[in-house]
């Protein structure tokens, strides 16, 4: 008898999960139609890919271009454009010091009050974690003066605990994954 209950309970959980999903979808839809933070972003052309020369180099250290190649195609959380197209990132905004094992990415949110800045930062952090050896310390910052809440965003993005906690939130996790693995572009 009790077993049956459990099963039913699980079933209900499932339906509730579906409901939540539906709710969220609706929310997203509303957001897409009404609540876009920057409804009409300026879209830039994609830069041409620089083909790496095949011949072996003596010095093949990690350079900003290599990092840029990984992050340029991350999708914007709001728009079906890449971060490169929205000029959120550029090759110049990335610095790397291989000896000290540090990577610093400075990105420029499209508008001053962009609440998506943290999401973009999370995406960058996740992507770099996938692509580089963990001994690299990654710093992610918004470009000085490009965000109204610059200090707190920077703080939030470089706080391990908060980043980990943020990625525990299923919705946020899904949003980040969509940005990273989306093929919509």
């Amino acid at each position: 008898m009790q077993r049956k209950n459990v099963i039913r309970f699980k079933g209900r959980l499932k339906t509730r999960g579906r409901e939540r999903e539906r709710d969220r979808d609706r929310d997203r839809e509303v957001e897409m139609t009404l609540g876009l933070i920057n409804a009409n972003p300026v879209v830039h052309a994609k830069k041409e890919r620089v083909a790496r020369t095949e011949e072996p180099h003596d010095d093949d250290a990690i350079d900003p271009l290599e990092i840029y190649e990984y992050v340029r195609d991350i999708r914007d959380p709001e728009h079906p454009y890449s971060l490169e197209q929205l000029s959120v990132l550029s090759e110049e905004s990335i610095t790397v010091d291989e000896k000290l094992g540090r990577i610093l990415i400075t990105f420029t949110p499209t508008i001053q009050h962009c609440s998506m800045a943290t999401v973009i930062g999370l995406c960058l952090r996740e992507k770099l974690k996938d692509c580089f050896h963990p001994h690299f310390k990654v710093d992610i910052k918004v470009a000085p003066g490009s965000h109204a809440d610059e200090e707190s965003v920077n703080k939030q993005l470089n706080d391990k605990e908060r980043v980990a906690a943020a990625l525990e939130i299923p919705n946020l996790r899904q949003l980040v994954d969509e940005c990273l693995y989306s093929s919509e572009l």
């Binding site: 790496r52 180099h57 093949d60 990690i62 290599e66 974690k129 692509c131 001994h135």
Partner: protein, 1175 residues
Amino acid sequence: MADPTQWVKHVELYVNSSSTAAQQAASVDAIANLLKNDLLTLEALVREMEMYLTTTDSTIRSRGILLLAELLTQLKSKRLNDASIESLIGFFTERLADWKALRGAIVGCLSLLRRKSHVGVVADDKVKAVVQSYLQNLQVQSLGQHDRKLCFHLMECLLDRYPAAVRDLGDNLIYGICEAIDGERDPQCLMLSFRIVQILAGLFPGPSGPLADFAGDLFGILGCYFPIHFTHPKEEDVDVKRGELSRALMLTYASTPLFAPFSIPLLLEKLSSSLPLTKVESFKYLSYCTSKYGVERMAEHFKTLWSSVKDATYVSPETNLSTEAGFMSEMGFQDSDIMKQAFVLLQELVQQSNGSFISLILEDEDIKIFMNSLNQYEDFDNIPIDIRQRLHAVGRIISVCINTSIASCNKVFESFFPLLMTYLGLSVAKPHENSCLAEDYNPPGRLNFGALYLCVEVLSACRYLVGSDELTPIPDFANQTWGVMLHNVSKSLAMVFISLLRSNVAENSQNAYVCYGVKGLQNLATFPGSLLAVSKSTYDSILLKLMSVVTSDINKTFLWTLAMNALVEIGSFLDKYPNNTPWSQIRHPRQSTPRRPSLYPTGPFFGYCCSCPRLPNFIDTGNKRHPYVDGGGYDLYYPNLINLNLGSSKSLNVTFSCQLFCKSLLLEDPSLPATAGEIQLIQKHLFHGPRFHKSGGSEEIPLNFALSIWDKIENNRSFNLDSLENELLDATMMAMKQAVGSCSEGSQEKIINKALGVLLSSNCLQWMESISGNTPSEAEGLQQIHKLDSFAIRDEWITSLFASIVIALRPQTYIQNGKFILQFFITTLLNGHVPSAQALGSLVNKLPLKITGTPLSKNLCLDEAVDMIFHSCIWTSYNGSTYERGSSEIDLSSLRLCSLSPESDKIHATIGLAWIGKGLLMRGHEKVKDITMTLLNCMISDGDRGSLPNSKHPSLVCNDEDLHHQLMKSAADAFHIIMSDSESCLNKRYHATIRPLYKQRFSNTVMPILSTLMLKYDSPSIRSMLCRAIAYVVSDTPLTAILSEAKKLIPLLLDCLSMMVEDIMNKEIIYSVLLVISGILVDKNGQDAVAENAHSIVNQLIELTTYPHMMVIRETAVQCLAAISELPYTRIYPLRTLVLRAMLKALDDPKWVVRQEAVRCRQAWASIASRSLHF
């Protein structure tokens, strides 16, 4: 008659504005078919359509009229009677007034007016009515683009087809046309309206016609289009190109001289525009108009025209200083488009004006002042750039004047030539008093460069004038003023030029004087014969000077190149005009006593070169070191001379250049790094060039090449080549192989017989006898070692080149003295001569199975050869080894006694065996098995060493151990030789006998043996050798053969990898094995086998991801790991953490490519469980 209900519905469909275009077209076709087949008459149709044609609804009416017009267009080749044409044209003429239904009316008129005369045409009075209605009713510019186009078409048709009818309308017509085209902007319509104006101009040519009154107005309309400029940025959007439109406008401007009073001032005014395009166009229009308007109309503008040309070229020229051209052309200046067009105009004006324009130029104050001021600019380096530019412009102006006509040429000569000559220190009037006629004349101080430059320009312009084909019949140049003048000074001039090339003057490497000296000589020497500017003796001395520069001034690269180019030019000129040259007079006396007639080809120029005293000297210098070879000229020389000879049409010249090349190759000291490159060049020219294929692969060239090399070797006994010059030998061998390979059997026999002769007479033979002499005593063994070292360079060349011949022979080629050749190669091969081994392999690959015809004792067939090889020589199975060859067992101990280092000999023998085995394998001979077994025994002989009698000196044992290891290794490497494709022998190009699938067959027989041996032996050294062999065999086996055996092979391959990882030298093998594994991984069938061994494969691959010596190995290993992630989930899931950990390491790889692959691989493995990369 067709039922009206049938076709009426088509009419309705057409008129109905809601039907589609396709439906409408279909209904037109349907009705037209009825009409064409006389199932329906035009009258009946019109009667039935009356309602549509006359209704007050303008939409339906216009559709109806258009239908009728379309039908008439379709009926253009059907005969109609005059009455119907008359009534129809009347109808359409009237309808032209109906602006709401206009299109149908225009189309109708057009189709009726365009009818050919045999199907009924419109009468002239009706045409006139059409024109009148047109002029009265049509407001062309207020119509849409398509209708405008139709209107223009109609007008063009009227003017074109009915000139008589429309001409009477006179003023009215012109006025109407003006109105119609005024303000037109569409490119297509413009093309039409320009065309209309052109026809109109042709219609009223007279100066007093109606057009004369309206010319101003008409040009007012046309004038504003110049220069044509598209406001649409993209030209491809428009189907009319800017260039076409501009040309149409130009034709329109030039269509009648009546436009001249308006167009010339306009164009002249536009010349002052700041837009370069406008200037170019203006000049272009002006030159075209000049040619059309005639000189009377232009005469009043001459002054302005000249000043504008002068402005564009002389006063403010726009030239680009092109750096790469140097002084070679125009002092390095490159004319802009504006200048080019200005010169075209100048030429047109001079040509048209009949002398009046040229006097304007010659009397121009600026030019005069400039000419008189030439004295100020003596030294080239001191001339400022703007003055150089002016000099260049004046030169161009003068040469344009000269090459326009003989008369203008005379005038220029009269005014400027004496002055120029005075600057150069020559006198035209008294040519014999010129000081430069002395043999050793040196110019006093610096020669006036400006004068020199202008003089050379004048010369080349004269040459152009006499060389132009338009001047037939050729006038008598010698009696022209300029001809006399030039002839008087030509000798002195030549001497001045020659003096410029003298060494003390030409020291400066990049000297403008030298450049123009050579250019002047070249110009003097290339006047066609009958118009010759120089006498025979001068011509001779010019060529001699150039030749002597080529043969002796090799270290003056700049001068040398110039002289060579000049000679090439002169030569090709002579080839072009063979009967026209002084050469024909010169050749005979010299050819009566040729030095070596057989060597000299018959091409006129070439003969001349050969008859020059210096060149043959060079060719026959014998052993002396020649100046050519010193310095950097060496690499310049061959390409040029070869080009020179190859460029000429005589194939003999090619032969000659081969000989030349061979001579210098073998006679001179070829210790220059350039030589190997030259052989490649020769090879390229001779065997791959267009000439070679054009002549149907004629073998004359390669045959001669090969024979002449052997000639040279034969004649030259003191062969002082640097022994390190291997590159040169390699290139020569390559060339020899290619040459022989492209010959037919007969030629090959010639070559090999020749070579055999040389070989038999060389020291090689003595050497061979001494080494194969059966004297097994230690003392003589030592002596032989001494002899081995003295295997002289010349002998090595002979042996190597001989081997090259044998390698490239065709199977059918008959080989004399085969047994000796075989013996010879066996001996040399033991000396470590690899080409000999390859030659042996080729020999056994190609020898005939049986000799046909009379068997001679010296001839050879395959079985005999194989027997000889197996019996005679020094390699064999080991005593006491597991394998006994029986009949072909050879006494090994004798070899061990006669040499101090038998193992090294055996290494050579193993290599030889490998090549022989390859030859046999490729033809599918069974003896290859014996060879394989011998090699295998060699590899596993490690365990037997104890049992062998050790006769070595104790001190050598350690060394011997090492050597033995090398022997095993070379036995393993032999499998590489057997399996891989070789570039240097035994391939299609060298006519090898190749049986299909031979690799597969060999792999199928050997692999089982190798794998059982792997199980049998534990000794690490033997196992590592076996692994090596397996790796070689597997990596060259076709993948399909491997896939079927994949299950068995994979563990073996993994063993191989783990064995070989230790040694850095093995990286290439590791890579090829890794490629095999990746091939298996990617294949669908191979994946089962992989799945079984997934764990061990992954472990091995992970080890390779950190392989430090070769980046591609790491990269491929990571790629393989990524491919493994595609395998069934259950198999690989346990390995996931392992791989991810390894990839984490690979992320830190020093190479970017590996890092990138690692990211991909990591992603692939992470995603088999979830997206998370955490573990």
